[in-house]
């Protein structure tokens, strides 16, 4: 696979490390229930098709990336800097 890093351009997948599902959100520590923490820690979907995933460009710029990938075809649909995604999510939160 080739992943277009937002900072470095298209690079081979061997430069990246995979973490997993980028749709799970760390619960708010002040209010989260035990069940929410459990889901955050252990429950993941395994979609067939488009999936948002966290990758890190470990052998490159070290940026964490949110890669939207089709799990059936490996087509990379979009790549965003994880920090930008996280910041806009924080902004959107009430």
């Amino acid at each position: 696979m080739r992943i277009p890093c937002v900072y470095c351009g298209e690079r081979g997948h061997e430069e990246f490390a995979y973490l997993g599902d980028a749709t799970v959100q760390r619960p708010d520590a002040s209010s989260a229930t035990a069940a929410e923490w459990h889901d955050y820690g252990y429950v993941r979907d395994n979609p067939s098709g488009s999936h948002r995933e966290l990758w890190q460009h470990v052998s490159g710029c070290r940026a964490w990336l949110v890669v939207t990938r089709d799990t059936r075809t490996h087509a990379i649909l979009s790549v965003e800097a994880a920090r930008d995604v996280a910041l806009s999510r924080e902004k959107a939160a009430p």
């Binding site: 696979m1 619960p27 820690g41 890190q56 940026a63 964490w64 490996h74």
Partner: protein, 1010 residues
Amino acid sequence: MNDAAPNAHSAAPARRLGDNAPLRLAEGGLIDRSRTLAFTFDGQRYLGHPGDTLASALIANGVRLVGRSFKYHRPRGILSAGPEEPNALVELRSGARREPNSRATTIELYDGLVAASQNRWPSLKYDLLSINGLAGPIIGAGFYYKTFMWPAAWWEKVYEPLIRRAAGLGRAAGVPDPDTYDKANLHCDVLVVGAGPAGLMAALTAGRAGARVVLCEDDFRLGGRLLLDRREIDGRSALNWVAATEAELAAMPEVRILRRTSVVATYDHGTYAAVERVNDHVAEPPSHEPRQRLWRIVATRCVVAAGATERPLVFPGNDRPGVMLAGAVRAYVNRFAAIPGRRAVVFATNDDAARTVDDLAHCGVDVVAVVDARPQASAVMADATQRASARHISGGAVTRVHGRLGVEAVDIRAANGATARVACDLVCVSGGWSPNVHLASHLGGRPEWDATLAAFVARNLPERMDLAGAAAGDLALADAFTQGHRAGSAAAEACGFSAASAPIPLLDPESTATSPLWRVTGTRGKAFVDFQNDVTTGDLELAHREGFRSVEHMKRYTTLGMATDQGKTSNVNGLALMAELTQTSIPATGTTTFRPPYLPVAIGTLAGHHRGKEFRPTRLAPTHTWAKEQGAIFVETGLWLRAQWYPTPGEKDWLESVDREVRAVRSAVGICDVSTLGKIDVQGPGAAAFLDFLYTNTMSTLAIGRARYGLMLREDGFVMDDGTVSRLGPEHYVVTTTTANAAGVMAHMEHAQQWLRPGLDVTLASVSEQWAQLSVAGPRSRDVLRAVVDPAHDISDAAFPYLAVAEVSAMGGIPARLFRISYSGERAYEIAVPAGYGDALVRALMDAGRAHGIVPYGTETLGVLRIEKGHVAGNEISGQTTARDLGLGRMLSRKKDFIGRALAERPALVAAGRPALVGLKPVDRSLRLRAGAHLVAQGAEPTAANDQGYVTSVAHSPTLGHWIGLALLSGGATRHGERVRVWDPVRSGDTLAEVCDPVFYDPAGERLHG
């Protein structure tokens, strides 16, 4: 490469045979007759020429029998002239360079080549194991699964050795390969796979447009089928066109031609793997050159012009030496000027084979009969037959082959059923051509059946890929040129170049008409579908009778297509026969899955330079050279090579050395390189809040110029790592990690920084490589440092107490960092200087310490010191232990959120009975404890049900004078003073130990302060 005249094919008919090899034509062929190469096959010496393959040279020398088959040890000859060869597998070279299962059809001849046949015992001609042929029913389809099932214990002792001897392939060298293998990357606009007419045209078109082109050709010569067919392009020999095209491509600066290079795999997003046989065509690679090179090619566009593979016909005796593919026969007579026989029968289903009839007649081979399986007479075939003065049999079939070690005659059945025996020594067969769809199918696209072509063609191509020529099912040469041009233009244009149109060369007439024949019916005897794995029509019938209907099941049960050739000549015939048996259509039967690599690839090629010690990098500590001078014994810890201990003269074992080192630290001073610890610089206004989030304890309250022990959890609540956090300024911290977790902790921190806490203004940098850091430990440590740290810095206990940190200078102005932290429990410091000064620092400290009795110590002593103090390390921070398990529960802050806080509070992780850290002392103090031993209650049976924990770390404590251990014991914290049974079945240990506090030495921590 131009070692033969380009117009060699057009030479006048050469009916005379040459003299150095009995079946070499006197003229023609793309071989260099000015040079002679000597080679041996099974010990017999033969001669050939540059331009030959081993197969062509054997044919020229009249060698027909080249191997024995896998299961039945049937005599086998050369079937093909390319990489699809299932039969002519040899052991190439000798000694450490011996390579089994090498295809004689692709081995380029060199002087001194040594090859041997496989699978024969005692000799190729008299193979005693060919009796397997009589025992056929025992080792038919599924024999792996049923014949040898009982008794199970016999499998390893009896069946497997027997089968391995009887049915096997070549022998590996058995010793390390002396050659090297390389790996490299290539990036291009257009990758063209195959340098036949379509590939050359595609490369030429894209190259002319200005695209960066990589052209890979499996063969050592460009031209593909133009090398083996006598064709005319623009009124001249096709070889002229090949030579001109090759010259034009070679002159283009952006075009790179890789000969002897097989593209073996397609990966996602335009990535391909190719194997270049850099030096397989010489006896030994020149020094500093690899034998093979594995290319990773990344291409914006790819044109696959990989050609097509001819299918054999399925009839009894179709595996006898002398039965050859019709196209391959053309290759031998035209390209190599070697005739595979003197009296030929051609048996085919298509007009393409008419070329074989013409070419055989052209070089003086007697074509006695042309058997066309098609009931409707083909004019093209009839004309060729007439030119060759041969008998023409329409709607006929070869029903039997006579001759034991090679073809002597065949039975030909005419359309009316009458059978006649015809003497011949060569049978040219063609069942049609299958496009090479592998590279187009590696990403999962299933090829589709094309009834007109009677072949599978690739559909649902990987993005960025195009097909041209025979690989696309365009079998006519005219189409190869047209489609090659189209694909080359499209590829160049997709890369932003504009391609000009070019005239398509004018060709001689051709016909590719074909009609399939999947098997000759109404016959008796073994008819082979898969030659290499010895799978017959009978095996497929048996599998079908036994209920194997799906193509994937049938393939595995019969092993059809599972040999080293992966069924290149057998899969389509096999599928068609399966369709017939299951009374379904071929498209409904479908194909099996295409997986890389297309050709067998040696493990050495995949490993490249990553062999032995070079399997992964070795990291050396900054004091490595100095430690080596001291005679240190080194140990691999992760990638690092660290000093394990420093033996001195007269010490009889490691224990004696380590005891001495420990005593020196406890009584005087010792020095140890701790640079391997991960060091991470944390800066910014958000640094304090960031570290509060990462560590279980609070770092924002840490005073500037102070250090604190820190504990990190994973989000699931288990301990991840520990280390020290030092504050150098209001917005500047430096933290350490364990050696093993340095990379993982860095990634974890970056994840927290960018994903979990993106709003914090904090910057991270790994500085592990930038600083050499030495631990100076022991009661005299300050005295030693006083002489090395520049005098301007006050390091008295008042100015620089336990857990103080300062940026200082040392050795006369070298910037340094000084930390008063202790792993040993003694007064201790760590001093860091820029990595390049590490060697100078260790020498300066040793000089300064000589008067104080300084000794260097290694990782063993480090371990003993920390076990005596009950400090946890990797053995205890195993990923399965919580902070409470390790006695560190007090470090879990209640006042803030941190990673792992919530899930660490789960009931099971705070349950009272969890294994917790304890110390162990053997009741009989003379006995040794062993890490890994399990703990059960005193007097209890040592069973899994009674298991109460295990010993994590042990050390011989010279301080206490006996062995001590750390262990995780159920409810351990409340069991101090109890005795437990320490059971070690692996090393026959069974002792009693006393449970105690894990801190064996100086529990009050008084020695830290001096």
